[in-house]
Amino acid sequence: MIDIQVQFTRGEFSLEASLKDSGFVGLTGANGSGKTTLLHLVAGVEVPDSGRIIVGSRDITFLPINERRVVYLNPETYFGHVDVERHLAWGIRGGKEQHEDSINEMKRALGITYTGKVSVLSLGQRARVILGTAMLAQPDLVLIDELFANISEAESVVEYVKEYAGGGGSDVIFVSQEQGALRAADTVYRMENGRIV
């Protein structure tokens, strides 16, 4: 369960959002409406002026990023210097040897049939690796910021992430303009001028 009630102002921009939900949650809206800012507040990149952010039963509002168990993803959140296998295993406790089956299963589910350094992959290939890395780490919440747009034949990937969110994995909030992904969401919220409408 995600329970967010935050107020945040920077310069001219003001955000006031309230969201209580779980599962595979979509967030859409025009550019500059505050979608990424809201994800940044939940991830801990920004700190709200007031309010609270509760994930599961934990109040994470003022926790440092690495203690939130909330993974933030966008097309640039990747480690360019490691190969695909090491990237996927990065957030797994205990290292990749003990979790080889899970890694192979994730690769199969996301269509990761390639190897090599992540920096030389295409945007779509990289997006699949980024998603796999987050899901293998099994955080409480995954925040996905415009990552599905780069993936060809994204429906199967979106479906897999939805199954993961609904099947006892992490809750997922994703920002997207893709109608296909939004249709798959359990709930879709629209943001306008820093408000959820």
Binding site: P64, N66, T77, Y78, F79, S119, T133
Partner: protein, 273 residues
Amino acid sequence: MVQRRKRQPDSLSIISGISVFLLSIPVIIILIYGFIVFRSAQGFSHTVLLSISLTLASSATAAAIVFAVFTPLAYELARRRNSLLETASDIPASIPHPIIGIALLILDSPITPTGRFLNYIGINFFDTFQGLVAALVIVSAPVYIRAAQSLFSSRRVEPELLASSLGASRLKVLYTVVVADSLRGVMSASLTAMSRAMSEFGSIAIVAYYVLQAPFSGVEPASVLIYEYYGYYGPQVAVTVSALMILISMAVIIAMRIVSRAKRKYSSGRVVR
């Protein structure tokens, strides 16, 4: 076949060329006089080679320590600007370097509490290899910190955000993501620090005029030896040793350029054109 258009020199490139020439005049003069005009046999003696070896060993040790100790500070300054920390880390570079030597002597003097403590645990700076390295660490650290800070600032922050959100502490992010992905840049910054250490005179002339420990027992660092030869024998020998030292410094600078060019070309495993 695509032919590259040759760039025509403009006024800026002509001024730049003249500036580089002006900077190079002392180096060219020393090389000509050291290797062609004077060419003193004493300039290639065993004493000189030992002295250069001491300079290389102490400077490389200082650069390694600077890397190990000051990389976290460089990262902190790159990600969280702090003018107090920045100013404090610049101070050793902006004061006359004999002051560093005097400060180390006071720190290590048996008449001060710090000195008594250091002597008690077996650390002695006066005329020792560790004193020489301590001085070189202090004078070269600001150079390294600035170079590494600039390198880290130019990196995108998203990989660090991913690592943090996957549970990594800031220290783990630094070493497993930032340093691991910027190894060539960090090596280049370390070579810059080594290069700076090799050129030091002011502080080491006070704290370690000679080193009285094996395998460098009685050996002076190259900059001190050049100064001493100049006083004893006049310019002939000093200029030949200086020319030799310039060649070695140039080798370090060339290594640094090769490393940093490779860094630009293969940044993050991607060929940057």
